[in-house]
C-alpha cells in the first residue's frame, strides 16, 4: 500500500445546540463520532451513507473547513491543528473540495476565468504566463472552452458548472480532492460524463479522491475502497468488491438491497428497516444501528461494537458480524 495522504484519527465533531436567554449549550448534535479512516496516495475512498449520517461533515473536516471537537486529522503525518502560515497555505492548495451544487459554491459575480485564475495567481502557479492563460488550459482540460473565460456561472448549465468547479480545484495542482456529492444533482447522461472526467483526471494527475455520495452504484463505480457511515459512525470499510459482494454489517446489507438496479430482471428485494433514523442529539448508547437491526441482541443495545478487522482490509463495527 502506498503512503497515507489524509488520515482521520478518532475524529469527533459535535455541533452545539444553544438555547434559553443566555444561549447556553444545552445539547450537541453528534455529527461524527470516533471515525478513523486513511486515504492513500492515488486512491479513491468512497464514503456512503444516508442524509444526516455525517459523511459531508467528515469531508469538511478533511479539508479543514471544520475543526474536530476531538481527535486529529493528519495530512502526510502532520496534524491539521498544527498547520499555520506557509504550511497551512500549502495544505489549502494540496487539498481541494468540489461541492454538490456548484452554483452556490461559485461566486456569481466572478467570470469563469477569474474563478479558475484566482487560485493560480495566489499560489503563483502560472509559470511566468498570465494566470488567465493557464486558466484557459484547465477549462479546456475539463471539457469547457477558452471562449468560456468571460462567462459567468449563471450562463452555464449544471454539468458545465460542475466542470468549472473541477477546473477551479484542479488549477492549483492538488493532491487530494474531496468530492462532496459531485454528481447527485446532475442528469443521468451528464452524471456519466462527470464521473468519467474525474477518473481520467485521476489517472492523468495522480489524484486521490475522498468521494462522498449516497448512490452506492456511483460509489462502486469510482472507488477503490468504500466506507459506510450510519448516524455519525463507521459501520464497515472494505475494498469495493468485497464490500458490495460480501458485506458484513446489517446496515450495509440493507443499503445494498435497497438500491434499485436499472434492470427489470433483477427484482428489488429490500431488507425492511423498521422505524426511522434515531435522533443525532441523543444517539442510542449501544450500537447506533441496533434499534433498527433485525439481528440486534441485548449486547448490541448496551455496548458500542468495536471497530475491528475481520479479514485483511475489511473493517466492521458489529457484534454479530
Amino acid at each position: 500500500m502506498s503512503e497515507p495522504l489524509l488520515e482521520f484519527r478518532q475524529v469527533r465533531k459535535w455541533f452545539p445546540i444553544t438555547g434559553g436567554v443566555l444561549q447556553l449549550t444545552i445539547a450537541h448534535v453528534h455529527a461524527v463520532d470516533d471515525v478513523s479512516l486513511v486515504i492513500h496516495r492515488g486512491e479513491t475512498l468512497g464514503l456512503v451513507g444516508e442524509s444526516g449520517c455525517g459523511k459531508s461533515t467528515l469531508g469538511r473536516l478533511g479539508v479543514k473547513l471544520l475543526k474536530p471537537t476531538r481527535g486529529d486529522v493528519l495530512y502526510r503525518g502532520r496534524g491539521l491543528r498544527q498547520l499555520w502560515g506557509r504550511a497551512l497555505r500549502e495544505f489549502r492548495r494540496k487539498v481541494q473540495i468540489i461541492f454538490q451544487d456548484p452554483y452556490s459554491s461559485l461566486n456569481p459575480r466572478m467570470a469563469a476565468g477569474g474563478v479558475v485564475a484566482e487560485g493560480i495567481a495566489i499560489h503563483r502557479l502560472s509559470g511566468g504566463r498570465p494566470p488567465l492563460d493557464r486558466a484557459a488550459d484547465y477549462l479546456e482540460r475539463v471539457g469547457l472552452s477558452r471562449d468560456d473565460l468571460p462567462r459567468y456561472p449563471h450562463e452555464f448549465s449544471g454539468g458545465q458548472r460542475q466542470r468549472l468547479g473541477i477546473a477551479r480545484a484542479l488549477a492549483v495542482q492538488p493532491e487530494l480532492i474531496v468530492c462532496d456529492e459531485p454528481v447527485s444533482a446532475l442528469d443521468v447522461s451528464i452524471q456519466a460524463q462527470i464521473i468519467e472526467l474525474l477518473r481520467e483526471l485521476q489517472q492523468e494527475y495522480g489524484l486521490s479522491y475522498l468521494f462522498v455520495a449516497h448512490d452506492l452504484a456511483v460509489v462502486r463505480h469510482i472507488s477503490d475502497r468504500i466506507a459506510v457511515m450510519y448516524l455519525g459512525r463507521l459501520c464497515e470499510e472494505a475494498p469495493r468488491d468485497l464490500l458490495c459482494d460480501r458485506p458484513l454489517h446489517p446496515y450495509t446489507l440493507a443499503l445494498l438491497s435497497a438500491a434499485p438496479e436499472p434492470d427489470p430482471t433483477i427484482p428489488l428485494q429490500p431488507i425492511p428497516l423498521p422505524g426511522d433514523v434515531p435522533s443525532r442529539v441523543n444517539p442510542p448508547k449501544g450500537c447506533r444501528f441496533a434499534p433498527r437491526c433485525t439481528l440486534a441482541s441485548d449486547r448490541c443495545r448496551e455496548r458500542q461494537p468495536e471497530w475491528r478487522e475481520v479479514e485483511p482490509g475489511h473493517w466492521v463495527a458489529c457484534h454479530e458480524a
Binding site: 438496479e261 427489470p264 428489488l268
Partner: protein, 330 residues
C-alpha cells in the same frame, strides 16, 4: 377503452420572445391498474405532460390535443369548475418534495380530510376516520396520533407517505407521481416503491410515474415512455425496453448509468452521451437528438423521424431503429 388517452398533445407558452413549444405532439395511453413510467432528463417535458393532464400548466401555456380523455371524458372541454371536481378526486398528484406541498400550519388530519369533505361531501368527523384508515394503509404507525400532528413533526419518508395517503383518500383512478422518491434516501425510496406497487395491486388505480431514475423505472413500471426535447421518442413494456432499446438515446441512457450488481473486478467504463440536452429555443432540425447521436446520418438532420412500431407494443421515433435493435441483440 384506456383509462387515459392522450393524442398529439402540444403545449405552447407565450413569452416575450415569442411562442415556445414545450411539448410537440405527445401520445400516451394508460390502462387501469398499470404503472407507466415517463423518463427523461431535465427539461424534456415530462412534468409539462403531467401538468397538462390536470390542466395545471402555467396560465401562459396553451394546451392543444387531438384527444385528451380520462374514462372517455374530454379533459380539455371541461370548465374550470368541473376540472376542480376531478383534481384530487379522480386524478391526484404526488410531488417530489413533500414539505413544500404540505401546508405547514395545518395538521396532517385536516389536510388529508379536505378532499373527502370537498369531493365526497363527508363531514370532517367521518372524513377523519377514513384518513386514519388510509394512513394506516400507507404504513404510518399510530395513525390516530399522527393526524393531530403537523408536517414538520414527521420524517421525510413519513411525509411522503402522508402525501401518498392524501392522494389516495378519494380513491383516484389515476395517480400522477412526479419524482416521488427523488428527495428520499435509498432505504426510504425502496419502502415507498414497494408501497406504491402494493397500493396499485389493492386499489387498481393507474399510476403515471415521472422519474429520471432508470433503476426506479426498471423496478416498478409495467410500461415506459422515454421523452427527449418535448417529444416521446420511445415507448415499450419495461422488459423489452431494457432488453432491446430501439432508440439511440434510450440505449445511451442505459449505458451511462452505473450498476451496483456487477461481477467482481469487472471494469465498465460509463459510456456517457456526449453534449447536453438542447435549449428549447434552439432545438436542432430534424431529429432533435441527432447532434448527440452515434447513429446519425444526413437524413436525421433533415427529417423528423416518424413513430414506427418495429415490435408489438414497442414504438420508436428513429430513422435507424432497426439498426439500433440489431446492435442491442448482438
Amino acid at each position: 377503452m384506456a383509462l387515459l388517452e392522450m393524442k398529439s398533445l402540444t403545449v405552447d407558452f407565450r413569452t416575450l420572445d415569442g411562442a415556445l413549444r414545450a411539448l410537440h405532439g405527445a401520445d400516451l395511453t394508460v390502462e387501469t391498474g398499470e404503472i407507466v413510467g415517463l423518463v427523461g432528463e431535465s427539461g424534456c417535458g415530462k412534468s409539462q405532460t403531467c401538468l397538462s393532464i390536470t390542466r395545471l400548466v402555467h396560465p401562459s401555456g396553451l394546451i392543444r390535443a387531438e384527444r385528451l380523455t380520462l374514462e372517455d371524458v374530454s379533459l380539455l372541454e371541461l370548465s374550470e369548475r368541473e376540472m376542480r371536481g376531478i383534481r384530487g378526486n379522480r386524478i391526484s398528484m404526488i410531488f417530489q418534495e413533500p414539505m413544500t406541498s404540505l401546508n405547514p400550519c395545518i395538521t396532517i388530519g385536516e389536510q388529508l380530510s379536505e378532499p373527502l369533505v370537498l369531493h365526497r361531501g363527508l363531514s370532517w368527523h367521518s372524513a377523519r376516520d377514513r384518513v386514519i384508515e388510509v394512513l394506516g394503509k400507507v404504513g404510518i404507525p399510530d395513525p390516530s396520533r399522527r393526524v393531530r400532528e403537523y408536517p414538520h413533526q414527521l420524517s421525510g419518508g413519513m411525509r411522503q407517505r402522508a402525501m401518498i395517503a392524501m392522494a389516495l383518500v378519494c380513491q383516484p383512478r389515476l395517480l400522477i407521481a412526479d419524482e416521488p422518491t427523488t428527495a428520499l434516501d435509498v432505504t426510504v425510496q425502496a419502502q415507498i416503491l414497494t408501497l406504491m406497487k402494493r397500493l396499485r395491486d389493492e386499489t387498481h388505480a393507474a399510476v403515471l410515474l415521472i422519474t429520471h431514475n432508470l433503476g426506479v423505472v426498471a423496478q416498478v413500471c409495467d410500461r415506459v415512455t422515454v421523452m427527449y426535447a418535448g417529444r416521446m421518442i420511445e415507448s415499450a413494456p419495461v422488459g423489452p425496453l431494457f432488453a432491446r432499446p430501439a432508440h439511440p438515446y434510450t440505449k445511451g441512457l442505459m449505458r451511462s448509468v452505473p450498476r451496483l450488481r456487477i461481477r467482481s473486478g469487472e471494469e465498465r467504463r460509463l459510456e456517457a452521451i456526449p453534449g447536453t440536452v438542447p435549449n428549447p429555443w434552439e432545438v436542432p432540425s430534424g431529429c432533435p437528438f441527432h447532434p448527440r447521436c452515434g447513429f446519425a446520418e444526413g437524413i436525421c438532420q433533415r427529417e423528423l423521424p416518424e413513430t414506427t412500431e418495429p415490435m408489438d407494443g414497442h414504438t420508436v421515433a428513429c430513422h435507424f431503429a432497426a439498426r439500433v435493435i440489431e446492435e442491442a441483440v448482438a
